[in-house]
């Protein structure tokens, strides 16, 4: 082994000492950059692509991302709608406040926040993990290489339909979530015996702005992009067999949730 010259040892030691400090932000930046590049390359659509082929692919993905998620999204938002109303009754039962405020409270929380966020979290697990596992398996079983070797742009071919499906179907799922959540809230309100469903709807209508729905739709669209694109990124870059696929799947779910929260804040800050 060569012994480094003594005058360089300080700089070398500083560099070596700093390396662990740099590893985490450096790794994050590296990952973020790779993610951006993947998206840029994927959406730089090949000119020779066959729309019919992509459309078929897109339809398949839209069913898998959207239609197949309707039951779980309905279940999750039905419960969160009910919980919102129960808590609203508990917190807002006050002789000075009109009972219809429960409906107002439910409308505001479900349309603005829960409808999108609960849906997004559920779909991080259902859609994000599925996409990551699928692409990760394709990666480790050389199927992505096979696509590339055929002369296909595998990024566009795999990423675009999935992300597009997310962007197009998440608003649909938001509508499902908001509807189910609001209706379930009304049912719970009626069952509570404290207020009637009419009072609930009256309250919901009192401060309703169509912009709330627009905001929810935009947010769900953003979440759809965030969740599917992150899942595509982790899945597409999976390596190391079954373990790598597992890691990619976990990362898709965790990163998806975290970035959904960031995106939620960004949307609120920019659009409200």
């Amino acid at each position: 082994m060569e012994v480094p010259p003594s005058d360089a040892s300080l700089a070398a030691r500083v560099r070596a000492g700093c390396a662990p400090l740099w590893r985490i932000p450096g790794g994050l930046l590296q990952g973020f950059g790779a993610y951006c590049l993947l998206m840029a390359e994927a959406f730089n659509l090949p000119r020779d692509l066959r729309p019919s082929l992509y459309a078929r692919n897109l339809a398949t993905q839209m069913v898998q991302v959207g239609i197949d998620s309707i039951p779980i999204v309905s279940l999750a938002t039905a419960f969160s709608g009910g919980v919102v109303v129960v808590q609203a009754i508990y917190q807002l039962e006050n002789p000075l406040l009109p009972l219809s405020i429960v409906g107002t409270f439910a409308e505001q929380s479900i349309l603005l926040e829960l409808g999108t966020l609960v849906t997004a979290f559920v779909l991080c697990g259902r859609v994000g993990a599925r996409i990551a596992a699928e692409l990760g398996t394709m990666r480790v079983k050389e199927q992505i290489d096979a696509l590339e070797a055929m002369g296909l742009n595998s990024r566009s071919f795999l990423v675009v339909p999935r992300v597009l499906a997310g962007v197009l179907m998440f608003p649909v799922l938001y509508v499902v979530a908001a509807t189910v959540g609001m209706v379930m809230g009304g049912v719970v309100a009626e069952l509570s015996g404290v207020l009637t469903i009419q009072t609930y709807w009256e309250g919901a209508r009192l401060f309703f702005r169509p912009y709330d729905v627009f905001f929810g739709l935009v947010k769900s669209l953003v979440f759809g992009f965030v969740i599917t694109s992150i899942a595509c990124y982790t899945g597409y870059n999976a390596e190391g067999g079954a373990e790598g696929v597992g890691k990619a799947t976990t990362r898709a779910a965790v990163l998806g949730c975290v970035w959904v929260l960031f995106a939620d804040y960004a949307c609120a800050a920019l659009l409200l």
């Binding site: 078929r56 339809a59 398949t60 839209m62 069913v63 959207g66 239609i67 309707i70 000075l96 406040l97 009109p98 219809s100 405020i101 409308e107 197009l168 179907m169 608003p171 649909v172 509508v175 499902v176 908001a178 509807t179 009256e202 919901a204 209508r205 009192l206 401060f207 309703f208 702005r209 169509p210 729905v213 739709l217």
Partner: protein, 345 residues
């Protein structure tokens, strides 16, 4: 067969439909159209917002669609979405109700009283709203009418004193003479009166009896003089002496009556002073209410929970008015007593 394309298309279409009807439903438009819009012009919207409920005789018939200020901010134009199938009679009054601080301001429509309501309103019609103050304004308004009542009381007082003055002026020398006499008698008996304060009421009650007796005796005397002028002359003298003695004896009561009158006058004077103070209080109360209404951290609740303030003011004004009304209605109440005295002499 349900291909993927059909499933997706169906889902997207359905959600578009749900958005359309959901937004219409939540923003209070009737789901399938058929409703119509009328415009109500308010001077003050009282915190009305779009989405607020419109009631006809207390029944929900629609929602507020839009609230916007008119030109120069003189008026507020409120667009009301009325459900289809609901007729609002022409000539209905429209006003806001509820308290904006508690978040529930609604629009109340009341049909005109009387059977003939006329043809109903149609889309695009405009209603001019009756300006109804909300509950805080009602309190403020009440204090205004309180001031008004105090005013009438004052006017009444002035009238009373004018009448009193006229009566005194018109009775001319008689009164003056009586008053001179009274002054004399007063001076003569002032000590006695102050000492005999306890007996005043009883004496006062017997005053009229005494006066009536005196009158009857005088009549009898007149007749006796005609019939038995000489024979009963001594008697007459004796009777006159009795009468005089009677009058002398009753001088206390006359003095008391005069005293009564003067104390009544003094009391009226005091009431006037109190009235002035009360009016000032009321003015400051109004100012307080105004500032309370306008101040963001106002103690509205305190005011609401303290009706005694209002009632006290009201009762004071009412009592004062009662006194002055009495004076006005019977300005000669005490003069009647004087009249008895006059007739004695």
């Amino acid at each position: 067969m349900l291909t993927n394309e059909i499933k997706v298309g169906l889902a997207v279409l359905l959600s578009a439909v749900v958005i359309f009807f959901g937004v219409r439903f939540l923003s209070g438009q009737s789901l399938f159209g058929g409703g119509y819009e009328v415009v109500a012009v308010f001077e003050d919207a009282q915190g009305l917002t779009s989405g607020a409920i419109v009631r006809l005789n207390g029944v929900r018939v629609g929602d507020v669609q839009e609230v916007r200020l008119g030109p120069n901010a003189r008026e507020v134009f409120v667009t009301l979405g009325i459900d289809g199938g609901v007729d609002i009679p022409r000539g209905s009054t429209i006003q806001t109700s509820g308290i904006s601080a508690l978040g529930e301001v609604a629009v109340e429509i009341t049909p005109p009283s009387g059977a003939d309501a006329g043809r109903p309103l149609v889309a695009g019609d405009t209603l001019r709203a009756v300006s109804t103050p909300d509950i805080f304004d009602l309190i403020a308004g009440e204090s205004n009418s309180l001031t008004a009542r105090a005013d009438t009381a004052l006017i009444g007082a002035v009238n009373t004193f004018t009448t009193l003055d006229e009566i005194l002026q018109n009775s001319g020398g008689d009164i003056e003479a009586v008053l001179a006499q009274l002054r004399f008698l007063t001076q003569a008996t002032v000590t006695l009166v102050t000492e005999e304060q306890g007996r005043i009421d009883r004496t006062l009650a017997s005053l009229e009896d005494a006066a009536a007796n005196a009158s009857a005796v005088s009549d009898r005397v007149g007749r006796n003089v005609e019939d038995l002028s000489v024979v009963v002359g001594n008697d007459v003298v004796a009777t006159s002496g009795t009468v005089r003695a009677l009058a002398e004896t009753n001088a206390d009561s006359v003095t008391a009556a005069v005293n009564n009158l003067s104390s009544a006058l003094r009391r009226a004077d005091e009431q006037l002073v109190e009235l002035r103070a009360l009016t000032q209080n009321l003015a400051s109360l109004s100012a307080d209410l105004d500032s309370t209404l306008n101040s963001p951290d106002g103690t509205l609740g305190l005011l609401l929970n303290d009706p005694s303030l209002y009632y006290n003011a009201n009762a004071a004004a009412a009592a004062l008015q009662q006194i002055l009304q009495d004076l006005q209605a019977e300005p000669g109440r005490y003069l009647r007593e004087l009249d008895g005295v006059v007739r004695v002499f």
